[in-house]
Assembly symmetry: D2
């Protein structure tokens, strides 16, 4: 839908129509008193490539169609269920993903893995490579961490979720990871998206702190376009003026995503909360709004954690936490997968 300004000439209108038809679109012109509107119907991809907003006389371009396709619910009305080593996420299967923010050492990793496995977690998360705001803070153990995660999986059976930061690490990470995480800061790192679009493991895609719901879906479309439609979306809080929490958890977006896409949508309440007392209420709310899973951080001794200490749930309290969230999962007619 192209709106021509009130001062647009007949030539300018004709010019737009000609270019639309060249691009294979059907163009219909409606003349109003204050504006002329051109409706264009054609292939999304062809129209997306036309720089209509730069044409003389054009005031605004209002897209009617959504810019994503493969990830849209229209294409696939049935919800996608992703299965990893026997654990499921999607539709009525709820994923409880837990583990340390960062893999720090063998003892911390195994201790946490055992605690969350015993409490009923369905996957183990743990950071090997950590993007940190300050260059003076701990950046993760790197490849060594991957070995510790492998060991934790062997002992507990929990599939591993870990973040891929660097396209040069794809081989190493997928050698261990069962689900490859793309972190919030890399949501629009399109080359990384293309890389994980070509692997055959599920991708957990976190929403960037300033990404719109549509941008998140477009990022998922990048992955899907390369052939990998095993994508789990994750809301983790956006940046707003409010500073009483670290991020504003946008649970309304979860409800919108459930309408817009067939992909499973989970929530990470830990980063938004920033403090462990807020993790449980936010987790409950995430489940109640319709999330297909949550991802939370846990540590045997949070006060010694090298990263995000304040928000990690003590491993020995994780069982109680899991029981509380399971009640809401059941109320929502889902089962921990």
């Amino acid at each position: 839908m192209i709106v021509m300004g009130s001062g647009a000439t007949a030539d300018q209108i004709e010019h737009v129509v000609v270019r639309l038809r060249e691009a294979g679109a059907d163009a219909r012109v409606s003349h109003g008193r204050e504006a002329t509107v051109i409706g264009a119907i054609g292939e999304r991809e062809a129209l997306a490539g036309l720089p209509l907003e730069g044409f003389p006389g054009v005031e605004r371009v209002l897209p009617i169609l959504k810019p994503y396709k493969l990830v849209a619910r229209e294409l696939s009305p049935d919800p996608t269920v992703i299965e990893v080593r026997g654990r499921k996420i999607g539709d009525s299967f709820f994923g409880l993903i837990a583990g340390p923010c960062t893999v720090e050492n063998r003892e911390q990793t195994l201790e946490t893995a055992r605690a969350v496995a015993a409490a009923g977690a369905t996957m183990l998360r743990g950071g090997a490579f950590k993007p940190r705001t300050s260059p003076y803070t701990f950046q993760g153990l790197g490849l060594d961490a991957l070995e510790l995660l492998r060991e934790a999986r062997e002992e507990t059976g929990l599939p591993i979720v870990t973040e891929l930061l660097d396209p040069r690490h794809v081989e190493d990470v997928i050698d261990v990871a069962d689900v490859v995480q793309i972190g919030a800061r890399n949501m629009q790192n399109f080359l990384l998206l293309a890389e994980v679009g070509r692997i055959d493991k599920p991708v957990l895609l976190k929403r960037g702190p300033s990404a719109s719901v549509e941008e998140l879906l477009m990022a998922a479309e990048y992955v899907a376009k390369e052939g990998n439609e095993q994508i789990i979306l994750c809301e983790r809080g956006i940046k707003t003026f409010e500073s009483s929490l670290r991020y504003t958890l946008d649970l309304g977006s979860v409800a919108v995503l459930k309408e817009e896409t067939h992909l499973p949508v989970i929530v990470d309440p830990s980063h938004a909360a920033g403090r462990r007392a807020l993790v449980l209420p936010l987790a409950r709310a995430a489940i109640a709004v319709g999330a297909n899973g949550i991802m939370v951080e846990s540590h045997p001794r949070p006060e010694e954690a090298l990263c995000d200490a304040a928000q990690q749930i003590p491993a020995d309290e994780f069982g109680e936490f899991a029981r509380e969230v399971a009640e809401v999962v059941a109320l929502m007619g889902k089962q921990v997968g």
Copy 2:
């Protein structure tokens, strides 16, 4: 806590100390290598009046104490329970406030009131005076609406929640209202806050779309300072970059408010949702995060509504809606009051 810049002179430091002591505060100076820090301990009110940030040499002023007092949980660790015509909100009593966005006519008002009463609502909401973004839209029936609300209360027994917009209407509004609402756009209309601080009816104070949690609590402090501590806080969505919903419902702030204040905190999911399909998931999430009530809009025939048509729940579906939310209320150990 006053941070003096690295270039602050001894005179400038001394000057701050003298002014603090004049204001009755105790001032202690710590000299660091890169900054000098002055700790001031004194009456919040006295210190708030000192323009410390304008003093020469001062780099930053970091307040340690919260700027609110009467509404703070520290002052009153027990949660406030507000009772209106036998209905309660606060602590374990959950308020289900429902009704039309705007009172349009007798039939619509009574029909909605009957439906929400039958479904178990605890209060009836309805706008008599409507603040609207455009001067070309319906602005409410005004005083006539108050009479219709009174009639609805007589028939259903439900206490009335309605908004006060104009300080010249205080008498008229409190003559009918059981709970006086201060709308989001008036959250920092301090003269209106002072007016309702002097009445003896509960106040429902909605958070402004760009107000921080602290500013909301300060607005409540304005009301409390005048003597009225019967205040219900209401989260209804904030303005952010995200546009897939009308507002970003900030449920994290509800969890923070429950920590910070003894006042009941409710949520209005309708305005944030903007569409009725999203009202139920947001309402569930609000309850799960710990809200003491919700306020939702309902209309016998939403498509004929003169205001916010898209987000109103059809009156004949309200019973089902109420049953769904009641399950979450029960799970959270609360009872519909």
Copy 3:
């Protein structure tokens, strides 16, 4: 432009068309593969009253026309010039409005008025009634302040800009004020807008910290609709995630407003800056982006100011400040009015 979802039935489409025609609009239906679009052409006011978004089958309503009319540049392509006691703002006339944040006492007011008059200011600003976030801070001298402003005008000849907070003060304020300010927090206090729409003095309307450009123009439309088109718009910073300044001064909006409306647009850099060292760079940028004036705060002894001490320019430095800004005014082809 009404977009019907892909599942909309022929009846639902017909229903929308019928309602549009009842409202006097011309409706044209275009059937696409993925959506049906109904174009409605009619009176803005009639269409604004139709709750189209609530109709069954409707997915989205995309307005083509701007919702404001009287303040739109289309209606009046020549820029409005507002004249007050011989001083002009608008088109090539630049307004330099200065004075204390708040009128504190006679000496401070007169001293500041003399300094800014001597430096070439064209109007004197000063707050009589102050909206303050905390109830424990100074709220202004009220009616006494108005008398001091009147005295300052008598001595300096500068027209007075002062804020109206309470509809019950209209008479008192317009008795003294030459320009009536509506503060940022009251930008959507529609009853106050209607009040100043009925007076015959210019109105200075500040943008709310979370108001969009369109909402600001709609607020101006409220004033204009009542008959008063002497409106000066003022950008003063919006709320964003960035906290290094008090507000994010949105100078891009000034450029947009200059396109959208014939009304003069000024900028208040003091509140956004929050510190006096930033006032000059922001003032320069405001002029360079095309503002028709600036409004800044000045005080004889900022460190004793009862309000916003950190951002006030010392009165004895105001002459230098005025010289600096005058250079940019001249470069932009404007003259201090």
Copy 4:
């Protein structure tokens, strides 16, 4: 500065003090009536590693010192001037960087390069690898584009600014680029920051759309920590609720950055503007607020541009644009470098 909650025990306070001392910091305890405050003085790096917020009893941690060091003005009070092939940016040298959004073909690239060179631009920008929100839009010519840029430099003498997206392209990009750009979406791609920290060419670091000023400076610190202090910072607009422009250009942040860092700060007005009519006013404002340069997009025939068509300045109008901005540069006491 660590604030212990009012309920903190003596043991908890002692525990914090012990851990601080273990980390080599000096800790001083002040007991107030409502809170206990512990002041810690020590090495920034050591303190940054302590998870103080996770300790029992700790309510808040208020950092007094800035978390960046190498890029801070304190460390190097003289402004950094960066020289590239005889062109300078920083202090009184103003950089005028112009060129196409994306390198599309030989003719477009050379034609634009000639036009901007003739108009007095000091560097040529051009994208070889383009991060695009949609996978269905043009992603850049890649390595071929680099050759075209090399040819444009040979003909015009203008140094080349181009973006590095992929750590695997470092060699290829620095083989041609004179200044390596890190795009807004990669501002917190820490591995890319580390890569460009190890090269010996200047880095142009764009602020992320949701990055705070402090986060931008921390990103620069990542580069500097690896040894490369030739960094140009670039403001290009942030995400806010306002949608009348593509981004909200945060010119206040430029004024803050000029205080905080010795690095040159430039502004890209094109992306925020989104439309070419707004580029000139925003460019003027950027210069007036104190920027050390601007970066703008130009194209021989914008309506045929494959990327950001609406905001590119036609190459044949660039001379006039350059004359307009040069006047503001001169007024600010700078010279086009």
